[in-house]
Symmetry: C2
Subunit: 321 residues, 2 copies
DNA sequence: TTGTAGGCGTTATCAA
DNA sequence: TTGATAACGCCTACAA
């Protein structure tokens, strides 16, 4: 028989005789034949692969997103290749180029910078979905209402009786860090308090920097009595420094942090957190992508932005005795 | 000029006139040309890509391995596609097939089962490195001296004054779980204690199962006064159940767990842990792979097994007041 | 329903 | 030093 018949059989086309098809399949199984995905993709001008480019594989928030993306991809018949940029713009650029060279049919990206250059991809018609962080270029985006979540958390601190909440947020270049700071400030205004720059620190989303920031704040002239912290990594640093000073969270000091990391329920006191719907974000990003892959450029929808709400989970650390 | 000249230029071959080469590069830049990686790989019969197939992306141990692998790969000019099997043998089989179809030049795998079928890959001459868990098939492996680490941890509990250490380990099918249980038993023997089956539980490496196991043990006729726990995920479950009972770790109960997860230093008391050299394991796996990719089958070294030591880090949770 | 043949974008061989 | 050309393995229009 001919290669065409084999190809048709293996692609489950109707136009092949059942008996013949069976013989093909039997032979394929016998010989352990696997088709060459490279050749197939080259011919088809598309690979059934998505690139998921995330900025920190060690962060449970991003791994939860990855799981969401993966589940959608699997359901729709795509493989996901996961790339980790470690917050390094150079690595990000490299992986974007790899995605292009490998002709992936879609990219989901948590950009390191709002200006990350995806123009090559879009020019080629490869759909891109931004996740967690916005992109200047107009593409589908799945974001979180960070400011609202930060505001709710900070207001909760004040309503629980704390009088001077400080804010430890991420780097000044990160949109999420800026938004969380904005939310913190809005909460102070809403509760008739004067936002003080001396109560704010940018600690690059890292634990050790957060510990240092905490020490600075506590050693200041008018130290805070509570903390709103913009991610769980930094919360570890804050906890460490407070313990070093013999201060108990939920007792001597109030604390709320972003991200419902698995361990947050197990510290002493259990951490009050602003939970982000990370898994759902991944699912949504995948679904937005699905609606674009294989769709001609002139029939594509306008860029869509989905903003998901956070959920404040009150545990012990934010309450006053 | 011809495509051949362009190809030679872009591959930095010497045999092309400098002026011409400059014109090629200028034109390429102008047009935003990117070579098609698929076509290249098809022609070359190899893709400069490794598949890293891990069993749980949410586990910091595996993400640390991934970073190690990535760093080596980057250094050597390979991309890494990361695949997450979620401990699901079906997903693992699917990703192994994808790796084969995409003609990756190497695979690093933490197998779900010792019997995972990699014969297709090896038959095609694609080198495979097993990491964290052994494979029945004889391939390069990077393992940890789990039993020794478990024994050291358990002996440390006893030496600290605890009299009845229990063991909460992983599923009976997992080699790592079996080895850690073995180490626990050896410690008891070495310290002249009778290992009792009633003090051992298999909790599938999951927090909720570990919490249940802890409850069972504590409600038993002769409850333990301390715990050796085979991973950090389960340690969270143990901590939760102990707190529910008003018991303080490092005070009323002793606790040592495998894995130096980022949060373990921040619980109350800080957790004593058996640290695994996860990042180094990734690096080593990558280096073993490097020595095989591109090497003809008949010149390949015999399968090598590297066993790395653990390190006991004593913090507060394992000490008696 | 089946077979033939062209081409996807590269790289490598050979001749010029 | 350069160019023409034949693969790599696959899918598909077209012919039979």
């Amino acid at each position: 028989m001919s290669v065409a018949t084999v190809s048709r059989t293996l692609n489950n086309q109707e136009t092949v005789d059942a008996d013949l098809a069976d013989r093909v399949r039997a032979a394929a199984a016998e010989l352990g034949y696997r088709r060459n995905g490279l050749a197939r993709s080259l011919r088809l001008q598309r690979a059934d692969v998505w690139a998921l480019i995330i900025s920190d594989i060690a962060n449970p928030f991003f791994t939860a997103i990855a799981r969401g993306v993966e589940d959608v991809a699997q359901r729709e018949g795509f493989s996901v290749v996961l790339c980790n940029t470690d917050e390094d713009p150079a690595k990000e650029a490299q992986y974007l180029e790899v995605a292009e060279q490998e002709q992936v049919s879609g990219v989901i990206l948590s950009p390191n910078e709002i200006g990350s250059d995806i123009s090559q991809l879009t020019r080629l018609g490869v759909p891109v979905v931004a996740v967690d962080r916005p992109l200047r270029e107009r593409v589908d985006s799945v974001l979180v209402r960070s400011a609202a979540g930060a505001q709710e958390a900070t207001e909760h601190l004040i309503d629980a009786g704390w009088r001077r909440p400080a804010c430890i947020t991420g780097p000044e270049t990160a949109q999420t860090a800026i938004q969380r700071l904005t939310g913190y400030r809005r909460a102070l205004v809403a509760r008739k308090k004067r936002p003080a720059a001396s109560l704010v620190r940018h600690a690059d989303y890292r634990a050790d920097r957060a510990a240092t920031a905490t020490a600075e704040l506590m050693d200041g002239r008018n130290p805070p009595d509570s903390f709103f912290v913009a991610n769980s990594e930094m919360a570890l640093g804050v906890l460490q420094e407070l313990r070093r000073r013999g201060l108990r969270v939920g007792e001597d000091v109030g604390l709320v942090a972003f991200d419902n990391a698995p361990w947050t329920a197990f510290t002493d006191r259990p951490l009050s957190v602003v939970a982000q719907p990370a898994y759902e974000m991944g699912v949504l990003a995948g679904e937005l992508l699905i609606e674009r892959v294989g769709v001609p450029l002139d029939q594509q929808p306008a860029p869509r932005v989905r903003r998901l709400p956070t959920e404040l989970i009150v545990r012990g650390s934010s309450l006053r005795p």
